[in-house]
Point group: D2
Chain length 342, copies 4
C-alpha cells in the first residue's frame, strides 16, 4: 500500500485520477490539494465519488505531500516545475500530467509554453513515460513526464512503422479529433455545450503545443528528424481521441503483421483485425489504445486509426500505469475496468 497525493484535483484529469486510484488495491489516497476549494469535500464537487472518496481538498501549503510515496500533478502547465524539486529531494516520486517535463529542449518548451522554465536540470532527469516504448527507463525514474493525449494516440499509431523503418519520415500527417473534455473543466465560452455540441471544427492548425512533443517522440524513435503536419479538431463527444495517421511506405511490408507483432505483449494496446475501424467508445473510460492499419486501394499510403480515451490512456490512466511500473505493481493493476458501451 502506497500513499498517494494529488496536487490540483479539481479538473477532469483530477477526478479521473481519483476514480482510478480509489479503486486501486495498493493505493491509499493521502491528500488532494486545491487552493481555491480548500475545505470542500471532493465528493461535493464530483458526485460520482460520493461514498467512495472521503477526502477534502486541502490547501497546498499544509497538505502532507512530503510524506507521500508519489504525488501526481493534475495542474495547469507551469505548476509542477515549481514544486517538484522539494518533493523529489524528500524522496517522493513525481508524476506530472501537465507538460512541464515533456520537452527536452528547454528553448522549444519556453517558446511553445510562453514562460521561463523553473528547473531545466530536472527536465533532463525526467523520463518521458510512454510505457509501451520505454518501460525500462520508467522503472527507475524520480520524475515522470506523463505524455499528452494527442501525443499518446499519435505515437502509438506511428511507432511500429517508424521502428521498422518502413515509411518516409517527411510528410507525416496526423489528423486528430478530440472530445471536449480535452479542453479541461475551465469556464470558457468555446467549450460551452451550446457552442461545442452539434458542431465540428479544426483548431490550432497554425501550431498546437502537442506538435513539438510528438515530433520529439517520433524523431527519437526514428533516430532522425521527422516532418509532421498535425491538425487537431474538436468533436462533440465528452471523452475520446481518434487519430487518423497518414504516411508513405518506403518499402513493401505486411503492415498488419507488423502492428500485431509489435504490440503482441502489450496489454493496453489492441490491434484490430485487418479491415476494421476502431471507435472511440470501445475504449471509453478505460486505459486501452485500439489500432487499425489500412492501405486504401492497396497503394503505398498507409492509414493508421488510433483511438484512446483522452482522460485515461491520454492522461490519468497512463499516469496510474506509470505509477504501477514505478512501484513494481503489475502494470494493469487497478486499470482493468471494461469500457462502457453504449
Amino acid at each position: 500500500m502506497i500513499k498517494v497525493g494529488i496536487v490540483g484535483g479539481t479538473g477532469y484529469t483530477g477526478v479521473e485520477l481519483l476514480r482510478l486510484l480509489a479503486q486501486h488495491p495498493d493505493v491509499e489516497l493521502a491528500a488532494i490539494t486545491s487552493r481555491k476549494e480548500a475545505g470542500m469535500a471532493v465528493s461535493d464537487m464530483f458526485p460520482n465519488l460520493r461514498g467512495r472518496v472521503s477526502l477534502r481538498f486541502e490547501d497546498p501549503a499544509s497538505a502532507p505531500l512530503n510524506t507521500c510515496d508519489v504525488v501526481f500533478f493534475a495542474t495547469p502547465n507551469g505548476v509542477a516545475m515549481q514544486q517538484t524539486k522539494v518533493l523529489v529531494e524528500a524522496g517522493v516520486k513525481v508524476i506530472d500530467l501537465a507538460a512541464d517535463f515533456r520537452i527536452k529542449d528547454i528553448s522549444v518548451w519556453e517558446k511553445w509554453y510562453g514562460m521561463q522554465h523553473a528547473c531545466p536540470e530536472l527536465v533532463e532527469e525526467a523520463v518521458y513515460a510512454l510505457p509501451e516504448i520505454n518501460r525500462a527507463e520508467i522503472k527507475g525514474a524520480r520524475i515522470i513526464a506523463n505524455p499528452g493525449c494527442y501525443p499518446t494516440a499519435v505515437q502509438l499509431g506511428f511507432l511500429p512503422l517508424i521502428e521498422a523503418g518502413v515509411i518516409e519520415l517527411s510528410g507525416l500527417i496526423a489528423d486528430c479529433k478530440s472530445g471536449v473534455s480535452g479542453a479541461g473543466r475551465k469556464a470558457e465560452v468555446h467549450a460551452l455545450f451550446s457552442e461545442a455540441s452539434d458542431n465540428f471544427k479544426a483548431y490550432g492548425v497554425a501550431g498546437h503545443r502537442h506538435l513539438p512533443e510528438i515530433v520529439q517522440g517520433l524523431s527519437r524513435h526514428a533516430g532522425n528528424p521527422v516532418g509532421l503536419t498535425f491538425v487537431p479538431h474538436l468533436t462533440p463527444l465528452i471523452r475520446g481521441i481518434h487519430a487518423t495517421l497518414y504516411a508513405r511506405l518506403s518499402r513493401e511490408v505486411d503492415v498488419q503483421a507488423l502492428f500485431e507483432k509489435r504490440y503482441a505483449d502489450e496489454y493496453f494496446v489492441d490491434v484490430l483485425a485487418s479491415g476494421q475501424h476502431p471507435e472511440t467508445r470501445s475504449v471509453r473510460s478505460a486505459n486501452f489504445c485500439r489500432l487499425a492499419v489500412h492501405r486504401p486501394q492497396g497503394g503505398d499510403t498507409v492509414v493508421v486509426l488510433s483511438v484512446i480515451d483522452n482522460l485515461v490512456k491520454g492522461a490519468a490512466g497512463q499516469a496510474v500505469q506509470n505509477m504501477n511500473i514505478l512501484f513494481g505493481f503489475p502494470e494493469s493493476t487497478g486499470l482493468q475496468q471494461i469500457p462502457i458501451l453504449p
Copy 2:
C-alpha cells in the same frame, strides 16, 4: 464460483450484463445465446469486450443452459415465459430482465403486453425483485422478475413516503425522462441519432407498459390502491433515467429525515443533502439510485428527484444484485465500479 448463462445477449442489457458479470469474482460465464448471431464472437459485436469475454453466441437449442446455476433472460417480452419452466425444473434459477413475470394479474399483463401468458402459475411463484423492498423474499426464489427501469426509479422515490403513510395516494405524478438506450438496440427510425439528438419529447402519455407495474408496486407498499399519472419522455442521453415525482403531503413530516432513515442501510440508494439535485451522470454506469426530496416554497407538495442508470440499476446491475442475493454473495459484489464522470 457459479455458472451463468445469458439468453439473448445482443441488446444493451445483454452487453451490460456481460460487462458486469465478466468483472464479477464469483461468476463463470458459461454460455450466451442468440439464434441470429450464433457463432459470432461476442466481442465482435461489442468491441469493449475484446480481450475480456471470449464467448461466442450459441444457438439456444444447443447451449448448455441446463447446467448453469442461473440463467438471465435479456430477451424481448414473451421469451422467458416459454423457457423458464424447463430451467427451474432442472434446478436453474431464472432472472428475467423483461416483463414476463412482473405483473401478478394475468389479465392486466395480457392486456398491456398483447399476448397470452404461457405460464400463469409461474408468475404467481415469481418474486418481483426490488431488493430495497423485499430482499428476504428474493433469497429463496426460483424465478426473479427483475423490475423495469422506470418502475425502479419511481418506486424507490415514492417508497419512503408511502411506507410512512404521509401522502395522499391519489393524484401521484411521475414525470420521467429516459435516455435513448432504454429503447434498446433495435433498428427503429425514432431512435436514430438524427431523430433523437437535439430533441426532447414525451411519448406514451395515453398509457405505457410500466404504468401497471408501478401501480402494482406502489399499491402493494401502500396496502391500498394508488392513483398515478405517469408521463415518460425521451431525452438525448445514452444512459440515465430521471424521475421527478409529485405527491401531496397528508400530514406534516420531516421528509429529509424520512428518506435518510429509510435508506440508511442501503448501499445502492444515496439520499442527497437537503436542497440538492441529483444528476444522471452521477450514477452513469453504476448501480446506484440517488435521491433528493424537496418541498418547494415549504408547501404541501413534495417533489422527489430520483436518478438511476437505466441499464444498470434499471436492468443489468439490479439483476446482478438479485443474483448476489440469490446465491448469498455480499450484495455489492461486482457492482462497486465508480460512476464515470464526466
Copy 3:
C-alpha cells in the same frame, strides 16, 4: 422601414435577434452595442452572420440609439431599467428581453432578482407582452416586457384551461425541461459540454425566478390566485423547451376541442391532434408553440405538452412578434422560416 437598435448583442438572444431582424423586410439594423466588444464586427463573433450583417459592436455611450424607432435590450437583468426612461422620452419604443419589466409587484421583483428597481413607475406602464393573450394592449405600448422562455411555454399551455374555468387552480404542476442555450453564452462550468452533455438534472427546485412570473400571469388570467409547483430541468439539447403541465379538471369538458378553439386563429400556436406528442425539434429555430392535451386513462388529470424554441418564441422571435404588433406589420412578418428538421 424602421430603424432598430440592440443593446447587448453578444449573447444567444442577441445573435438570434440579429438573425431574425436581418431577414425582416421592414427593418434596418441601425446599431448594436457592447461595451466589451466595441469595434468588433458582429460577424467575427457569430460566423453565421458573415456576409449578412455588416454591423460592428458599438460602445453604448456613442451608439445612435435615440434615433431608432425601437430598441431591444438583450442584456442581463437590471440593465434595461437604467436606460429605458431616456429612450421612451425620446420617442423610442423599448422591448426588454430580460426581466426588468415583467413583474408588476416591485417588492416581489426585488426579492427574486436581488436588486433595487430603478424605475417602478415604468414597470406599471410596461405591458407584459404575450401576444396570444393581450395583443390589444401591446399595440399602444411604449415599453414591452417580453416574457421569459418558461413562462411562455407554461402560460400558453395552461391558458385555455384557465380561461374556461375548468381546472382546480391549486395544485398546478409545471415540469419543464430546457435546452442549455437557456443558460446563455456565459462562461460557466455547469454549462460546459462535458458537464451538460449526456446528463440530465433538475435545478432551482427551491425557487426559480420564472415562478413568480408564471404565477402572476396565470393568476391574472384566472382572476384568482393559482398554486403552482414549478420544476425546471436541464436537458442536453441546444434549443428547446418542453413543458409538461398537470392540472385536475374541476368539471367535464372536451379538452381537445377547447384547445383547438382557443388557438384557431393564432398563427404561432399549433394544437396537435388528439393523442399526439409534440417534439422540440418540430419548432427548432422557429416562432411556433406546439401543444398537445391528454387525459391519461380518461381520468380527471389533464396533461398538456407544450414545446417552443426558447431562443425564438421564448425570446427573440416573440420580441420580433411584439415589434410587428407595435408597428402595425402583419404579425408573422419575418418570422415564417420553417423549423429545421432534422
Copy 4:
C-alpha cells in the same frame, strides 16, 4: 412559377427539399411520391412542415410527375435511372440527388454501386452539376447529376489549388468527417443515437463510393489523373461535413490570395481570413461552403478546411441552386436563410 415534383420524399434530403422549396417564391410543389407512405400527409411524417406543406405522399404510379417542370429524385441509388427517360422525353427536367448519373465511366459506376446501369446513354448526357465549376453547362441540361456531399466539400476545397496547378496531384488526402444525417433516415443499428452519440469512428477506409466521384471531378479539373486517399469518419452531429484536405505545394504561391480570388464572385462560397477555422455550425441549415487555407509552420504542406451542411450544399440546397440555374432564377433565390447558430 414552376411546377415541381419530388420522387421519394421520406428521407432527410426529401424533407430538406420540402423545407427549401416551400419557401421558394417561384415554386409550386405539385407532387411528392412514396410507394410505402401513399396517402399520408407529409406533415404527419415531418412535423416541422405543419401548416406549411399540405401535400400528401402519392403513389408513384399515379402522381402527375409528367406535367411538372422539374422532378427531383431524393431516392436510393438505382431509382432515378429507371424513370428519367420517360420524364425527359416528356420535357421534364430531372435533378437526381442520388448517384445514378454522377460517374461517367459506366464500368466504374457498376463496380462501386453493385448493379447494372439502366441508361448509360443518359449518363453521357447528364451534367455533373457543381455550379461553382460548371455553371454554364448546367444551364442547358436536361438531367442534373447533383454531387454527393463529400465530393462537394472536397472539390470546392481542392479546386483553387488544382486549377492553379500549384500542388502535386499524387498524394492528395481528404480526411472527412460527416454528421449522422448523411447516413439517411434508414433504420440501421449503427446510426442509432446510442451507437453514434458520444462516439467517433472512421468507416469505409478500404473504399467509399464517393472516392471515384471525387477522383473523377478532381482529375477533370486538373486535366490529369489525381491520386487521392479518402477517409470518411462519422461524428456525432446531425448536420455538417468538415473536410480536412492535405496537399503538397509544387511551387510557391500565396494560397490565401488564390482562394479569395477564385471565389470572389461566388455567393455560396466564403473564404475565411488567414488563420481562421470554419466550424460546421456556421453553415448549419444553409447553402454555404466556408473555407480556410493554412500552411502550418510555413511549410509546403497546404491544409484546406472546408465545411458544408451535408443536407443543404451537400444535397437539397445545391439541388435547388441547380434548379435556379436551370430555370434562370437568380442563383440564391430561396436559399438565403441565415444559418442557425447556436
